[in-house]
Amino acid sequence: MAEYKVKFEVFEGPLDLLLYLIKKEEVDIYEVNLTKLATQFIEYIEMMREFDLEVAGEFVVMASTLMFIKSRELLPVDLQVAVEGEDDDTTDPRWELIRQLVAYKKFKDAAAKLQSLEARQENVFPRLPGKVEFAPEPAPLKPDVSVFDLLNAVNAILRRFTARDATRDVFEDKWTVSEKIESIVRFIGERGRAKFTELFADATSHGEVVCTFLALLELIRLKQLTCAQSEDFGEIEIVRAATINHTPAPAVAAPPQT
């Protein structure tokens, strides 16, 4: 066999070529003149060969089927030999071929429908809304945070200050614990609760942090406030104690000065 450079790919296979030839004749598959079709098919294959196109084995097999059909037609009906052991319906090679063509045609049409679905999907955009968000509700609080957690938190804040303040001048501490108690009570009074770090957010010095912390401990001791954590390692929250009475500032006698 000669080596063909171009593969004949215009038709998916012999059935595809047959459908093309039938379509060209503008007849229904059932109406097609198979003898004429066979002649055209073989002519086509010969043409492919002349153009040095590779003729796949499937085309050759089909050509032989068509040759057989054609030759069979040439015999008078009473001389046609039926294949033994099979009834007429299944042995009629014309019928076999037509059945195959009809089935193939249906799947080819189905493939075309899939192709249009494929193209359609390229133009269909799913709705992609932004994430639904609800205002963060207070999660059920897990009470009884250990005082060690509190100390750790304070240490972290102090460390931050030490790092930041290393080169700063030392200036006079102007805060007292009693003042801080007042401001914490006011802060929590307004908002109901506060994050632990919020209490220290405005602190400008080491001394102020210490004052604020002592004030907080005092308020906790007095059961004015309690602290809670909504999840492990979560941020500590300071809330008003359940038994709180609404007297504003607690009477704290002589808070220690720093």
Binding site: T35, S64, R72, L74, Q80, V102, A103, A111, L114, L117
Partner: protein
Amino acid sequence: MELKLILESLLFSAQKPLNSAELREILAKAAEAEDADTVAKTFKKTKEADLTAALETLAKEHEAAARSYRLVCVAGAWQFVTQPEFAPWLKAFVGIKSRPSRLSAPALETLAIIAYRQPVTRAEVEQIRGVNVDGVMQTLLERDLVTQTGRAEVVGRPATYGTTPLFLEYFGLGSLEDLPAADELRKITVVKPEALTTTEPELGLATAPPEQLASEAKPGEPAAAPEPVAPTN
């Protein structure tokens, strides 16, 4: 409060398609919420059939409303999508969708046969297409549009193939039932007409003994015998 509107609000807010199991889970969870009201509790145990009916009603309502979007079911999960005719503006807005390259004609043909005939063996696909499908099958398997589903109980126990959920997604189909003309193609019955108009008796005589040709030319049979119509080269 109607079930269908609750489902609609959920699908409207969802960032991805939701299937009925997920929707039922949400209904159950809302019913169990601490502050659940009687309405929420009503839908605690919504039956699958009621849910599906509500979703189908919704989809029909949105189709009838003829707006720029529809509610569709793709691979069993529901989602809102825009109508294809608005693609020019959506492309300008969100950019062109990243999708794998389009399938070739042989791949689509093979895929169609597998989709309608699953589970199906490679030999059966080749019988219908009349050509070898090795390369195309490889592509379809790699793209996860087709997968091996089992083995046929025939000699040699060849592998059988079927389509994947991705196949449904790729073509935007809710289920295999939504394949176009599914019933017809699953079982093709071709009615033999009274007479076949094929005779051209005016020509000469037979060229080969028919029984010999018949055995060689049986369609779909691998041609083990020597090439019947001898190529001339």
